[in-house]
């Protein structure tokens, strides 16, 4: 039963530096990296050591808690470095890529004839399970628990995010294979959202329920879709997966080849020629951003969009789940009387001598300045304007801060992920780190309740 979802609460942050719809093949970088911080809560057991040869799609480590869950290399080459942190925790695994890529030859499968158990073991063994995340807790899905439904957002509403309609074009066969396979893993439906006016390759898929969404960001967040279609109750699990990862799963199912290729948007006000690049998971971002040209030196490079991405150094790597690289100016400078001057060049939801409301179509060049210092919660009612979920945002944040597990559970903690609080964090007058607070709250629940 599909339904149209129209979001009223939210905020479109309009920024300079949107990508033009033009894709070039990126120069392959010498080194690719898998960063363990992308797999929240996974403790790796290494299968390869430094100096070992790997093929693309060959397992490099498995999940200590579930040995069948493999994580594979995006490229073929040699494991060149394993960077460890405190208590020898593995942070990053670097692979020097071969000039010609070798792929592990998995069996290609006829998706229609597989049963759930076969799909599951196939995905676990080939490394594709890592693309499936679950709520509650926003972590890689637990294969033991069947989800009540699977949610896929095919509409990227975040600022400057890669346009799914564009990057998925021509991938219908792969998407269909992946969706059909996933639909066998749940009793419920596979729910897919597409933009209302969009011409999405996802909208013609079978074995799925298509929802048309419209409205400001976060209308394209998968959390918004879940909340509107079938919210997570206590004891229930839903899975989420991004469309660009469906393509990788689909290609694997059809051809047996783990092809980590992905079309990545390089965007932001400091990028001279924002456009799309065809590259691979774990690529060195420098190869992309310097190919596009950067306007200046004092920049922040973000793997992901400006609201939910990770800060990376220019010699850092594209995150496992990301398909956008954003480059914006750092804001590490003082601004004379900045707290009281009228403001025309920054985004605000208030009208307190902030004039962005006068220019609804203006594109802004925002920097990373917090525009104020961290304070206790004072202002009320501003989060609700940009938060479309049927949850009290400030109350749940406070419950997380005081580690009140009962209140967190009652207020809907099973339904949320940090990214759902990106906009409340953006508008927060007290500059509280909402996403961090929610992440820590989820980790606490995972530890205490499981």
């Amino acid at each position: 039963m599909s339904k149209d979802i129209r979001i009223k609460k939210g905020l479109n942050i309009k920024l300079k530096g949107a990508a033009v719809q033009e894709t070039v093949a990126a120069v392959p970088s010498n080194v690719y990296a898998i960063q363990l911080s992308d797999f929240h809560g996974i403790i790796p057991k290494m299968l390869k050591k430094v100096g070992d040869k790997v093929q693309a799609g060959e397992a490099m480590f498995f999940n200590k808690a579930n040995e069948s869950m493999r994580f594979v290399s995006p490229v073929s080459g040699e494991v060149s470095e394993i960077i460890r942190g405190d208590r020898r925790k593995i942070l990053t695994i670097k692979i020097s890529a071969d000039a010609t890529q070798q792929y592990v030859a998995n069996n290609s499968v006829a998706v229609n004839q597989l049963d759930a158990a076969a799909v599951k073991s196939y995905l676990l063994a080939t490394g594709c399970w890592s693309f499936i995340k679950q709520r509650p807790y926003d972590v890689i899905a637990n294969p033991e628990v069947a989800p009540k439904a699977i949610f896929i957002s095919g509409y990227a509403s975040a600022p400057l995010a890669a346009n799914y309609d564009y990057v998925l074009a021509g991938k219908e066969a792969e998407l269909q294979a992946a969706v059909t396979a996933l639909s066998k893993l749940t009793q419920g439906a596979v729910h897919i959202s597409v933009g209302k006016t969009a011409n999405s390759p996802l909208s013609g898929l079978s074995d799925a329920t298509i929802h048309k969404v419209s409205g400001p960001h976060p209308s394209g967040n998968v959390g918004t879709l879940i909340n509107n279609v079938d919210p997570v109750n206590k004891g229930e699990v839903v899975w989420t997966i991004t469309p660009q990862d469906l393509v990788i799963i689909g290609e694997l199912l059809l051809t047996g080849k783990f092809n980590a290729e992905r079309i990545v948007a390089v965007v932001g006000s400091e990028v001279k020629k924002p456009k799309y690049y065809k590259t691979k998971i774990g690529v060195e971002v420098a190869t992309l951003i310097y190919a596009s040209g950067v306007a200046q030196e004092n920049i922040r490079v973000i793997s992901g969009d400006i609201l939910t991405g990770d800060k990376v150094n220019p010699d850092g790597y594209l995150g496992y789940y990301k398909n956008t690289i954003t480059v914006i100016p750092e804001g590490d400078d003082y601004e004379f009387m900045g707290w009281t001057m009228p403001i025309f060049n920054k985004v605000s939801t208030s009208r307190a001598l902030t004039f962005s409301w006068l220019f609804p179509n203006k594109k802004f060049k925002l920097n990373t300045n917090t525009n104020g210092e961290h304070r206790a919660f004072v202002v009320t009612g501003s989060y609700e304007e940009v938060f479309p979920l049927d949850i009290y945002p400030m109350q749940i944040l406070k419950a997380c801060m005081v580690k009140d597990l009962d209140a967190m559970e009652q207020l809907g903690m099973y339904e949320v992920a940090p990214e759902d609080f990106a906009l409340t964090e953006f508008v927060c007058v007290s500059k509280q780190p909402h996403q961090e607070i929610i992440r820590e709250g989820l980790d606490l629940m995972l530890k205490e309740i499981g």
Partner: protein, 406 residues
């Protein structure tokens, strides 16, 4: 070396020391800090707490200036030196330099004492507890001089401010943690600690108290000044000489900033437009007071002859024009920390404030200023209101689960 880099170097030098919060408080007034995002989203909206507070202060400034003119005006009218206004809001009798000078001499010291004492306490607490100086007092410090009688002794104000900031706010953990509105805590302290000052009929016009004392001491040749608030007169059923228009424009005696309903109305609209003040609270509080006033109007005929009759029989909308009700609704009830925090809760909270204000006002003619007590009372109940609103959301979630499992 520019001022900017000098200050930056000083900031680095003081980092981690006891004095850092004090230095940073001053530094961040001059310059928006160079802090960048380090977790979660990489950009933030333009507003910070200083800007929010500053917007409220901007809304208060017209009330303060009007209050200065009014203090002088009330004095000179009472002494008979000038005539009462005749030409509406822009009457020259009111907007004269003499009025302003007298008023400024009286009121600027109140503002200074309020800020120096209050911010002093804030700085001390920030240094002791090692957190940044939070901006909450910027607004409280401006509100306090506007809700006290013009003739209040400065020492009394100073004591009250210390009480209000320490007991009203800091003991709970500072800005954002308080249960009661600090400015109203100050006024409540004055009200109960020095009742003769706050409720008598001598304090509301500059010089009235001194004249009365002089007359009592036997000084000849001067006239007594009546220094009663309008509400006091109304409560006692006296004939009043002020027209409704005077009450609306604010040419009446009363606390410094509360008299001009016109300016308060404009300030309220400004706060709603800037999205700093909650329209839900303001609107529902106005409706609440009108509702209670209307109920009393209906009941008044059966209460004829009782001491409540005078205020009960007053036109229901007139409650908004006299006393501190309008000021309280726009500036006090909307304090986001002590008000209800959920949108539904705000409507209930505001309505009850309006309702209770008029009720207390009518039923307690000895202390006719009900709005302060009503807001403080509702401050205490705001978390309870929120609790039930949030419970609604929680119940809905539980019900959803039950439907599933059934």
């Amino acid at each position: 070396m520019s001022l900017k880099s000098n200050l930056h170097n000083l900031k680095e030098k003081y980092k981690g020391t006891k004095m850092a919060p004090a230095f940073n408080a001053l530094h961040t007034f001059l310059y928006l800090p160079n802090e960048t995002t380090h977790s979660g989203g990489h950009v933030r909206a333009a507003d910070d707490l200083k800007r929010t507070m500053n917007t409220v202060i901007m809304a208060l400034i017209p009330c303060l200036i009007f209050g200065m003119f009014n203090a002088g005006y009330q004095h000179y009218v009472a002494t008979g030196e000038i005539q009462a206004v005749t030409n509406g809001f822009f009457s020259t009798e009111f907007w004269s330099m003499d009025n302003l000078l007298l008023g400024a001499m009286k009121i600027l010291p109140l503002v200074l004492v309020s800020y120096i004492v209050g911010l002093g306490v804030e700085f001390i607490f920030a240094i002791i507890k090692g957190h940044e100086v939070e901006e909450g007092y910027l607004v409280s410090g401006m509100l306090i001089p506007l809700i006290v009688p013009v003739d209040i002794p400065l020492w009394m104000l100073g004591v009250a401010v210390v009480f209000g900031v320490v007991i009203g706010k800091e003991v709970f953990g500072g800005t954002g943690m308080n249960i009661l509105n600090p400015a109203l805590t100050v006024r409540a302290f004055l009200f109960f600690a020095y009742p003769t000052w706050m409720t008598g009929d001598k304090v509301w016009v500059e010089d009235a108290k001194e004249r009365a004392d002089q007359i009592a001491d036997g000084v000849k040749g001067i006239d007594a000044i009546s220094g009663e608030t309008l509400l006091g007169s109304l409560a006692q059923g006296k004939e009043i000489t002020y027209s409704v228009m005077d009450q609306f424009l604010g040419f009446i005696p009363g606390s410094v900033g509360e008299t001009s309903t016109l300016l308060i109305l404009l300030a309220g609209l400004f706060l709603i437009f800037t999205k700093i003040g909650s329209w839900r609270i303001m609107l529902s509080a106005v409706l609440g007071s009108l509702a209670m006033g209307y109920i009393f109007n209906m009941l008044a005929p059966s209460m004829a002859g009782t001491k409540f009759f005078a205020l009960m029989d007053m036109e229901f909308w007139q409650h908004l024009l006299v006393g501190g009700l309008a000021f309280g609704i726009v500036f006090m009830a909307t304090d986001p920390v002590s008000a209800a925090q959920t949108n539904k809760g705000k409507i209930i909270y505001g309505f009850l404030i309006g309702f209770m204000s008029v009720m207390i006002r009518v039923f307690n003619p000895a202390f006719p200023e009900g709005v302060m007590l009503a807001i403080l009372l509702m401050n205490v109940f705001a978390p309870t209101i929120d609790h039930y609103v949030v419970q609604g959301n929680i119940k809905k979630r539980l019900k959803r689960l039950k439907v599933k499992t059934a």
